[in-house]
Amino acid sequence: MQVLTFLFKRFGWMIITVWIVFTVSFFLMRQIPGGPLNGERVLSEAVRARLEARYNLDAPISEQYFTHLWNTVRLDFGPSFKMQDFTVNEVLAQGFPVSAALGILGMVFAITIGMTSGVVSAVRRNSVYDYSFMLLATLGIAIPNFVLAAMLIVIFVFNLQMFPAAGWGDISQIILPAFCLGAPFAGYIARLTRTGMLEVLGNDYIRTAYAKGLSPRTVVLKHGLRGALLPVVSYLGPAIAGILTGSLVLERIFVIPGMGSHFIEAAIQRDYTLAMGALLTYTVLLFVMNTLVDLAYSIIDPRVKLE
């Protein structure tokens, strides 16, 4: 019941957020010089009027607003201005799975690499492993992902020729970008895991556990990891937002046809409808992800109350 109320409340907030984002961006976009109808050649008045009519740009702005809002409510974002053969829904439907795959794999990398090295660091505190892992973690956090991508391309694509330079469609093409995407978050997660574990491992009940004769492995994995999990889970919210932004750059470097490329291109080319569609999708995505993280948090730590 509590969960339901929570979800219901969140849903309400999401609607408000999306509405605000919609309204603000709708009016902002129409302020930008350079409408969507600028081809390479200047359009004659008649052609321009026809095109404006086709895209409903000639109606009064309030009418455009409500038409657009109603269509958006029905999840119909209309035709894309710049890719005339597609509707926004089709573009997003094509881009989303690609970005999702990249993002999920990036996240998987971040969590596995981050937590493993964090656990090792915590267990072997102040050892060479600890120092080098923490150094690497800080490096991963500090270096911008496009610099990292450039370095990895030089090493793995040019010198070792292990991966293709760019593109999409093959499992070998997803590894490098996903790794670059996950790297900074792996760094954070490693540090969070390490600290969390150290805190837990210092507790009395761990000593009790050892005293009971449990093997170190069980103690570390069963009790220690539990303590490390909380900060990591609470970090997932910002991490997901970061993964979404990060994929903008990486999709560009590795020429991946995901939502990130569509979004950036749309904004640059003033593709009103597509930019709006992508923006709203991102907003909803962030909201849903954050809600899920909060839910997960409350499951792991029953002391946390959902509100």
Partner: protein, 640 residues
Amino acid sequence: MFIAGFAVVWAVNLGTLPPAEFVFNNGTEVKTIDPAKATGVPEGRVINALYEGLLRSVPDGEPDELGRTPTKPKPVAMADSYQVSDDGTVYTFHIREDAKWSNGDSVTAIDFAWSWMRFLHPETASEYNYQLFYAKNASKFALVDLHEGDPVEVEMKDRPVAGQMFPRGTVRRGSLLALIQPPAEDSHTQDDGHGHGGSGISGTSIFVVEFDDESEKTIQAFTTQSLDDEGIQALVKSYQGMHDLSELSSVEHVLFDFQHVGIKALSTHEFEVTLNSPTPYFPELVAFYPLHPVHRLSLEEHGDREFTKPGKIVGNGPFLLKERRIRDRLRLVKNEMYWNAPNVKLKSVDVLAIQSETTSLNMYLNGQLDWDTKPPNTLIPLLKERDDFVSTPFLACYFYRVNTSKPPLDNPLVRKALNMAIDKQTIVDSIVKGGQVPARSFVPPGMNGYQSGYCGEYDVEQAKRLLAEAGYPNGKGLPTIEILYNTADSHRDIAEVIQQDWKKNLGVDVSLRNLEWGTFLDTLRVGDYMVSRSGWIGDYADPNTFLDMFVTDGPNNQTKWSNSLYDEGIEKAKYESDPVRRMAIFKEMEQTLMDEQPIIPIYFYVSLNMVNSRVKGFTANLQDVHPLHLLSLDSEGAEP
């Protein structure tokens, strides 16, 4: 974790597609593959593979001294022959008997007449439609340029599929008795005879049309607006003429009757086009991709946008669209129904949309691409050494527009000084590096029988003198000049070099402003710039495609420059049938352009292609066109 793994596998699987036989980078995502709506070179490459016009521009003849094969529009396409009337105004095309659509239907003259009608139709809003304005009355149809007494067609509001342009509603043909518009204010200017921009009927208007149906004549009044429209109601109220407006009805369109446009299907295989004046380059236009036909039935069934989707698209070109992934690739496969299918060698082609030049080159060098259309400038000296680098000059000019309405640039002396103070040779040698030629004229060399104009060499002293003459010795008193360019590395590099040239040589302060393409175009159009980077690729091999840009208020002029002698000259050349005299007129006009310098030519482009050595049939030519169906792969010596 399992879910994550599963999702990854699922998403990757969704995108797995074994690479095609031939892969090339098209440079950007194509905006559309509907011939009537497309503009741009990348779109052209794809449309020329999917569709075929009456003629095709193909490399033909002996290479010139630079190794360039001339391209000629030839009846090796849907038409197998054509005749031109003696006065050069009537073209009759014979469509080959074995021409087929990919679904097996025959390609007929009626298909062409219908497709060209759609291309010209104002509701299609084709940006390229002026290319057909050479045909008689075509501009009247496209621009809704109606006058009393004109034959008209009225399309009723009974379209079978709501919100879809085709199939059209019932069309009735009659003649326009009266055109009723509110007085004064929005007076509509007459067509300037130029064709490009022009103006049609806009704003509130009522059409009174007389129909001559069999026995009796009927007169009816129509409007394309809603009857509730305030303007219309006011107009009806204030109208005091002789016609009865009580039964006014609202219709989709009132247009110039297409049956009176010089585009006709004489029979299934005879297609006739009547022109306003002899247009020597008309065959080039016919071969141009916007005039390729589309398949009527599939378009009417699926609608204006859906009909281009893989699985639904019906084409008549050498290839078929199998799959299309946005910003990734188009997968083309050989069309077995194509009339010349036995000679099409490639079985499948991937058209990629990679914007980054470096990435594209890396993929080429990695063996992921067979043809790279734009290697980065920095590396060209290294690439030039390689056998797979194919480069020749082609018909395109990189130039700066100067806004002649902004002081001090309204002074031709200043503009000339700016031109002469640019070290174009260095730009060519050290920035673009591909063997481009410094431009001393606007029209590139290589047009048959044409001698270009001349705007002077790099001459600092002369430039200084001109500037002093204009009243700005050593740049004193000159305001900061701003160079506008659209965001791209090479544009920025060139702008920075020119900035330094002007500052060093003339003492002029220069600032740079870059804008994204969309904003850039708009800024250019409203004239809010001083100097702006531009480029122009000839649409056909005739000086006209370059020179008619700069007629007064031409849609691509954008410099506010106006010279009535120039306007007259360009107009005169249109009707000049003697090629030698015609070229002489053009030359004189170009010299005027160069003397007044509303534009500063920088260099002539060269085509830059990296082509894998296993690709055969790739010939360097004047228009940098490389039809995919002429390419083949060397089955042996395949080199990764």
